[in-house]
């Protein structure tokens, strides 16, 4: 039997949701029939709007899709203006203040505290510069990710940006692909470093070379069925198909159609294509694709570049582990990657980013899957002046490794799924570690990813230290806790972290990392990386290296932050919530 969500989708879904959304916005929050909240909030996701969690009713997270993470000149300024004017809530965040922009692990943008009534104006402003929230959430093609410096990387195999853009153009708003069984995450990469992270996407196009009719043709190998969520992480499987850049849109659409027709619509837990791949295996998958969805004979896979992959790998093989720093482009200009701690940037800083990108570069800004931003097209003679800008003091191209390595999801601040507070906590962790812990000599990359739950939006399984939200009791009282995993990473032979320590109270995690690093330094052989060290150490021994303990670190959010209406409010109890509010932010509770 189809789920409620499938039934709602069969009634109204895709582009047509917009008219309803704008009508509700025009008439105000109360115009959404109370007995239709669930169905409309499910549908609004397709237009990038996610109803915030319990206690924050009537406020939405808005996700803006930026294909391949590219913000063209002028777009960053509009994002900052929209955040400034519309993304301000009823309470401040103690670290980030009131009004901020989140750069996400899928190279998108998230704003919070968006009111329904403001959506038409926001859409107008975004669309005036070519930005859109279409399909940023919901069961369809999500924001397409890829190497954020595609076309500006001196060493790339093929410039995949035109392919990513063509896929975006073809499959955003495409009625044949707008109602899939579940979300559809696509990665297109042409670089040698693997920074599209194809292994953890539903559909991955990865750089390859194939000899066809005696010619060496550059294009992509295809993998299908990767993903990290729900305690069921999968690496995308090689389906033995090579496509040229010209064939990529057709074959990608064919695979999306295969998913549309064969994915499980009766059980949303089993709906992602990774489960279909579990059932079929790559050989059957390829056969069905060839026989039922593609009109020409598919090429077998070409020679790939996976042995060169370095991004998020935990190995020191000479390639980039991220995009932070100053790097020359093929045209002689430079791109400057800035570290944004946990991906969150205040509105004033975002305005500054737009100004600086315009003054020193082309005005373009690109977003990476490590929640950082890149200013592109900076002439060499402007680099010194750019480096002296105040903005780069806070968002450094040469940050401390603990700052550089931090990634965190949204957490209980706004998200229904999360079990613990995340972004502010990871900021506190990174600052404490920077002040108190020495990294072993020569260790410049050390990735700590904090995810609030098993949905894994912070991609915890592919970090050196993986942190995942949990609960425990301490002195008999329930407290927020984290599972600790070690040794995850991508690269030629990707591996998910082993969860070696469970339910560590959050105030003991910095001490655990401090002790872990001290133990690593003691037992390290030569200049091996942390991942290499973990790989040669058995799991039981690893667990012994994690020695949680209280330190000078103090955590102000030990309690159940999910039970607050907003964890940082002076009065954080659910009863103190002003939500729902009207278009002016006035509480509607008296009318309820």
């Amino acid at each position: 039997m189809p789920t409620d969500v499938e039934n709602w989708k069969s009634e109204v879904y895709g582009n047509e949701i917009r008219d309803h959304l704008l009508e509700f916005a025009e008439q105000g929050w109360d115009s959404i029939p109370e007995d239709e909240h669930d169905e409309w909030f499910e549908r609004f996701k397709w237009w990038g709007l996610y109803h915030q969690r319990n206690g924050q009713e009537s406020y939405f997270m808005m996700r803006i899709g930026t294909p391949n993470g590219v913000l063209t000149p002028g777009q960053t300024e509009v994002v900052a203006e929209v955040a400034d004017e519309y993304a301000r809530g009823p309470a401040d965040n103690p670290i980030f203040g009131d009004g901020y922009v989140d750069w996400t692990t899928r190279q998108s943008i998230q704003l919070h505290w968006i009111k329904l009534e403001d959506i038409p104006e926001i859409f107008d402003k975004l669309e005036s510069v070519g930005l859109s929230t279409q399909q940023a959430c919901g069961d369809s093609w999500r924001n397409i990710v890829g190497c954020p410096v595609a076309g500006k990387d001196k060493h790339e195999h093929v410039d995949a940006l035109p392919v990513a853009m063509e896929l975006n153009e073809e499959y955003k708003g495409n009625e044949d692909h707008s109602n899939l069984p579940r979300k559809w995450k696509v990665s297109v990469t042409g670089c040698r470093e693997g920074c599209g992270q194809g292994d953890i996407n539903d559909l991955a196009l990865e750089p390859a070379t194939k000899e066809i009719d005696g010619d060496e043709v550059k294009g992509f190998n295809i993998r299908v069925g990767g993903g990290l969520s729900r305690n069921e992480p999968r690496l995308a499987r090689d389906i033995d198909v090579f496509v040229t850049p010209e064939q990529a849109p057709e074959v990608s659409g064919a695979i999306s159609a295969l998913f549309r027709d064969n994915g499980d619509r009766e059980n949303r837990y089993n709906a992602r294509i990774k489960f279909l791949m579990d059932e079929w295996g790559p050989e059957k998958f390829r056969n069905v694709l060839q026989e039922e969805y593609v009109d020409y004979e598919l090429e077998t896979a070409g020679e790939d570049l996976r042995s060169e992959y370095s991004y998020n790998s935990g190995y020191a093989n000479g390639g980039h582990s991220d995009h932070v720093g100053i790097h020359e482009q093929p045209d002689g200009n430079y791109y400057v990657g800035l570290d944004v701690l946990v991906g969150r940037m205040g509105v004033d800083d975002t305005k500054e980013l737009a100004r600086v990108a315009d003054e020193y570069g082309s005005g373009e800004v690109r977003v990476t899957q490590r929640q950082n931003v890149i200013i592109t097209d900076v002439p060499e003679e402007k680099l010194d002046a750019l480096k002296s800008e105040d903005l780069l003091e806070h968002y450094s191209p040469d940050p401390h490794p603990f700052m550089r390595g931090s990634v965190a999801c949204t957490g209980t601040e706004f998200c229904s799924l999360s079990i613990v507070e995340t972004k502010n906590r990871q900021v506190r962790y990174a600052r404490w570690l920077k002040e108190n812990v020495e990294l072993p000599e020569g260790v410049e990359d050390f990735h700590i990813h904090l995810s609030g739950c098993t949905a894994s939006c912070a991609q915890p399984q592919i970090a050196d230290v993986s942190l995942r939200g949990m609960k425990t009791r301490k002195d008999g009282e329930p407290v927020e806790a984290l599972d600790i995993g070690l040794g995850g990473g991508l690269g030629e032979n990707p591996n998910f972290a082993d969860w070696v320590a469970q339910r560590i109270p959050v105030d003991e995690v910095p001490g655990a990392i401090e002790n872990l690093l001290a133990n690593f330094e003691d037992e390290r052989e030569g200049d091996e990386t942390f991942r290499e060290f973990v790989e040669r150490t058995d799991e039981e021994a690893l667990a012994d290296l994690v020695e949680p303990e209280e330190t000078s670190y103090e955590d102000p959010m030990m309690h159940n932050t999910k039970m607050t209406w907003y964890p940082y409010a002076d009065d954080d109890s659910m009863d103190a919530s002003p939500a729902p509010t009207d278009g002016e932010g006035n509480s509607l509770q008296a009318d309820d």
Partner: protein, 107 residues
């Protein structure tokens, strides 16, 4: 009176008549020797699997982990609230939850 019961957002919460009523991250205690070896499992709720109603009692099956022993499993039906005059009323989920059996499957 018909009551709409749903699990939404990847099993993150239970909706009763289009209101969010029960969410992941709570700690529940209940007696169930099949869940883990603990006399009284102390479980963090990670995902709602099924929701149903037994008379006026709203019950769920959830995936979770006992924070005392670490066992991860799915529970039998556990009560989380009652429907009174068409409205959901929380039961005290910080006390020991007592399974009542039954349950008409709704999701």
């Amino acid at each position: 009176m018909a009551v709409a019961l749903r699990i939404l957002d990847d099993g993150a919460w239970i909706s009763v008549n289009d209101h969010r009523e029960v969410s992941v991250s709570e700690l529940w205690r209940f007696v169930d020797p099949t869940f883990c070896a603990c006399t009284l499992p102390d479980m963090v709720v990670e995902n709602f699997i099924e929701v149903g109603v037994d008379g006026r009692t709203v019950e769920v099956r959830v995936y979770g982990q006992c924070i005392a022993c670490g066992e991860k499993s799915t529970t039998e039906w556990l009560p989380v609230g009652r429907i009174v005059d068409g409205e959901f009323r929380d039961i005290d989920r910080e006390s020991v939850l007592a399974p009542t059996g039954v349950t008409e499957h709704q999701e």
